[in-house]
């Protein structure tokens, strides 16, 4: 009796701390009831497939938001890393694991550069990443003459189009990354310090934390996630457009993170929340498509969803 009481209490507290996840479930329920096509295996898999790239990026952006900063350069890192991956394929005949390595490595380099400018250059993250957002993308556009970069390994597209156990292959990297991100945040010292720096960087510094290293790590992780996102993005068509790929991805990612309950002031937010935020946008798009709503109107509704959910969250917090 006692034990079950404790369990219910824990469960209630868990629900209170994961309201966005509950909202997601309600949304899924509503969509399933009102559309006969929504709750089918193929369609749900579609939702996940569509969420994979933004999901990967949002997981990385989550780390930067956690320390109270922003990363606007992730869309451009995606383009940069995408081009690097495809050239790597063409030059060294890389397969999928090689692509993941190149994507992650190039992302870490670009992300660390952001981190170095923010910490040692003392430039606010918004300005820094606004600058590198232009630099990374336009550098690649200059190199590729604003055109597309294409790869010649057709096996690469297995990632974007193949299935394993009836599930799109592209979903697995996202699940792995989400679990990894959760473990890093909840079980490692880095995770502990990311929260501490986000909540009170002065106190963390005074306690002997290496705030600079933590900050650089957050940006490196954000860059890495964008690089991994590039692997998924390129696997669809085996090419990337330096001018048109990844546009607005940074804003979609930030929106998903914020929708997931993270505070832009830092120190607050869970991976489950961010994943829920990503899925919510994906479900919304999917559902609108099923109901034949114009893509443009979908954008408007996306904005309204952000207002609605955050308004409710703020109200609940005050109570």
């Amino acid at each position: 009796m006692q034990l079950s009481n404790i369990r219910t209490e824990r469960f209630q507290r868990w629900i209170a701390g994961n309201k966005i996840f509950m909202t997601l479930i309600v949304l899924v329920f509503l969509a399933s009831v009102t559309s006969e096509y929504f709750w089918t295996w193929n369609n749900i898999m579609n939702v996940f497939r569509q969420a994979s790239v933004i999901g990967m990026i949002a997981l990385g952006v989550h780390f930067v938001v956690l320390i109270g900063m922003l990363d606007l350069s992730v869309g451009s890192i995606l383009v940069f890393s995408g081009a690097v991956i495809l050239w790597g394929q063409n030059l060294f005949d890389l397969d999928i694991p090689g692509s993941f390595f190149l994507g992650a490595a190039s992302g870490v380099v670009l992300g660390s550069l952001n981190g170095l400018i923010v910490t040692y250059g003392r430039v606010p993250s918004f300005i820094t990443t606004l600058g590198t957002m232009f630099i990374y993308r336009y550098f690649m556009m200059w190199v590729a003459d604003a055109g597309a970069v294409s790869g010649n390994r057709i096996s690469h597209t297995f990632l974007g189009h193949g299935y394993w156990l009836g599930i799109p292959v592209v979903v697995f990297p996202l699940i792995l990354a989400a679990v990894a991100a959760h473990v890093v945040l909840s079980r490692t010292l880095l995770g502990r310090y990311l929260y501490a720096v986000g909540q009170n960087s002065r106190a963390a510094f005074s306690s002997g934390a290496n705030v600079r290293a933590v900050t650089i790590a957050a940006f490196a992780i954000s860059g890495m996630a964008a690089g991994l996102g590039a692997v998924l993005e390129t696997s669809r068509l085996n090419s990337i457009s330096t001018a048109n790929s990844g546009v607005y991805y940074e804003l979609d990612a930030i929106a998903a993170v914020v929708l997931g309950g993270a505070s832009l002031r830092g120190g607050k937010g869970t991976i489950l929340g961010t994943v829920s935020g990503v899925l919510m946008f994906s479900i919304l798009n999917n559902y609108m498509n099923l109901q034949n709503v114009s893509t443009y109107l979908q954008g408007v509704l996306k904005g309204l969803l952000i207002f609605l959910v955050l308004y409710r969250q703020n109200r609940l917090r005050e109570d």
């Binding site: 501490a196 009170n200 002997g208 290496n210």
Partner: protein, 492 residues
């Protein structure tokens, strides 16, 4: 009788903060309100200030029953409160803060800066304080900010002034100016509620005293008949033992030596040393450069020149991370700003300074962590609902114990404590003194920076006195007394 509060009760989430408490105030009196932390003083006054609504009870102001629904309404009724936590905006000037929310304008459009500045100047002159009305709050010391806060309350023509530990952050000299001002306001018919943990200052300024304990009213009486010891016993509800434990640790080899450390304009050419087993005090007025010296020593700020020797070897401490690695710990004077991460729980705060102890290969060993934390909670008698309790739910005294525990967990050898007992009640205070003495007895060393002379005299083996950024001298044994320290601290 200008104010009467009767049968006031208030509970927060089922926890009774006040039960059937009575309080009254005569016109032109200074009424002391004392009790341990958590006794309900602040809650009672927050009800008067309109911040909390009472669950039960009646407030009669000037003969009429009133309901005080908001801080704004409270101000309109002539009640002003000066909080422990300062409510000033750092990036605005003194004058702008004073007139925040009631800015004077020209033609309703343009801010009348000149008028506000001159009125501010007039107000500050009353304190005998040479503050520039155009100075940003961020550049003022905590003591100076407190003065601005008091000036702000007084500028609102308050009839009832509530002072929540106004002298906790003030120097002796500034405190005396404040007492002088309190007497002046009293003569003008202002009634003052005076909350303080410093019992010795009540005698000079207060007429009556009300003592609360555990949310209940203990007594209200004329102050004249009571001794400090009697007040303390009534507050605690038991006999208090000697405040300062006997410290007779063996003095060992030199742990830290500082030579010619300089950071203009905060301090210049400071030489001192600390040996194992010693408790070394730093006395001085606010602005003497003690906090700045400690922050520089800890690597928070950069020194311009000077050498630091740690266990006989020259070291350069460039940031707190390096300081912690050497074995230094620093409990800062600003508990909420730099001491604790207020949004985090007790456990995480306690292990923040020594992650290596609770982790292996960067992975946190949760069970090991909770064992370490539980040990410290019991050892230091920290009162919290659980090791996962949010740190902001703990009382000030228990928060300070967590700050200390944080450095004890991290195997600190030299512990720097800046105002270790500020805003902490009698009971917790003596526990903290015991911890300091025990720490030194283990062959480690403590530097105590404090504005309370009895504390320094009761604890320290040697006391360095600073005046305007320079070390004026070193006192120990018989020489160390209040007169000698004050003489040096004021530069005589």
């Amino acid at each position: 009788m200008i104010l009467e509060m009767k049968g006031i009760s208030k509970a927060f989430y089922g926890v009774k903060a006040l039960q059937d408490v009575a309080f009254d105030l005569r016109k032109g009196e200074v009424h002391a309100l004392v009790g341990e932390n958590g006794a309900g003083k602040s809650t009672l006054m927050k009800i008067l200030a309109g911040i909390h609504a009472p669950d039960e009870g009646e407030i009669v102001l000037g003969g009429k029953p009133v309901a005080i629904g908001s801080p704004h309404q409270s101000q309109k009724l002539g009640i002003s409160i000066i909080h422990q936590e300062l409510n000033l905006i750092p990036h605005m000037s003194v004058a702008e803060n004073l007139f925040l929310g009631r800015e004077q304008t020209i033609a309703g459009l343009f801010s009348n800066k000149k008028g506000m500045v001159s009125q501010t100047k007039h107000l500050l002159d009353q304190f005998g304080l040479k503050l520039n009305p155009n100075e940003l709050i961020a550049r003022l010391s905590i003591g100076e900010r407190q003065i601005v806060e008091i000036a702000k309350a007084l500028s609102m023509d308050a009839e009832i002034l509530i002072m929540d530990e106004p002298t906790a952050v003030l120097e002796e000299r500034e405190a005396n100016q404040l007492f002088e001002l309190i007497r002046r306001f009293k003569r003008q018919g202002v009634s003052i509620v005076y909350i303080s943990h410093r019992l010795h200052e009540l005698k000079g300024i207060c007429d009556r005293i009300t003592i609360l304990r555990d949310g209940r009213h203990v007594t209200t009486t004329e102050l004249d008949g009571l001794s400090e010891r009697e007040i303390a016993n009534l507050m605690v509800g038991r006999e208090l033992k000697e405040m300062y434990p006997v410290h007779s640790g063996e003095i060992g080899e030199e742990l830290l030596k500082v030579e010619g450390l300089t950071r203009s304009p905060h301090f210049e050419d400071v030489d001192f040393h600390v040996r194992r087993g010693e408790i070394v005090g730093f006395a001085g007025l606010i602005g003497a450069g003690r906090t700045e010296l400690m922050r520089t020593l800890f690597g928070d700020w950069k020194a311009e020149r000077g050498s630091v020797y740690w266990k006989g070897e020259t070291v350069r401490i460039r940031n707190p991370e390096e300081a912690v690695k050497l074995g230094l710990g620093f409990a800062t004077e600003d508990r909420k700003g730099t001491g604790l991460v207020m949004e985090m729980n007790l456990t995480r705060n306690m292990t923040l300074a020594n992650p290596a102890k609770i982790s292996r290969w960067n992975l946190i060993r949760s069970r090991h962590e909770s064992r370490v934390v539980m040990e410290k909670i019991q050892e230091m008698n920290i009162k919290a609902s659980s090791p996962a309790a949010p740190i902001k739910n703990l009382s000030g005294g228990n928060q300070q114990k967590v700050v200390i525990a944080k450095w004890l967990v991290s195997e600190t050898e030299l512990f720097i404590m800046d105002e270790p007992t500020r805003g902490i009640d009698v009971g917790a205070r003596s526990e903290i003194y015991n911890l300091i003495v025990r720490f030194a007895a283990e062959g480690k060393a403590v530097i105590v920076v404090s504005s309370e002379l009895p504390e320094l005299l009761g604890l320290c083996d040697r006391i360095y006195v600073m005046h305007r950024g320079r070390l004026k001298g070193e006192l120990s044994g018989e020489e160390a007394n209040e007169q000698n320290i004050m003489a040096m601290a004021t530069g005589l």
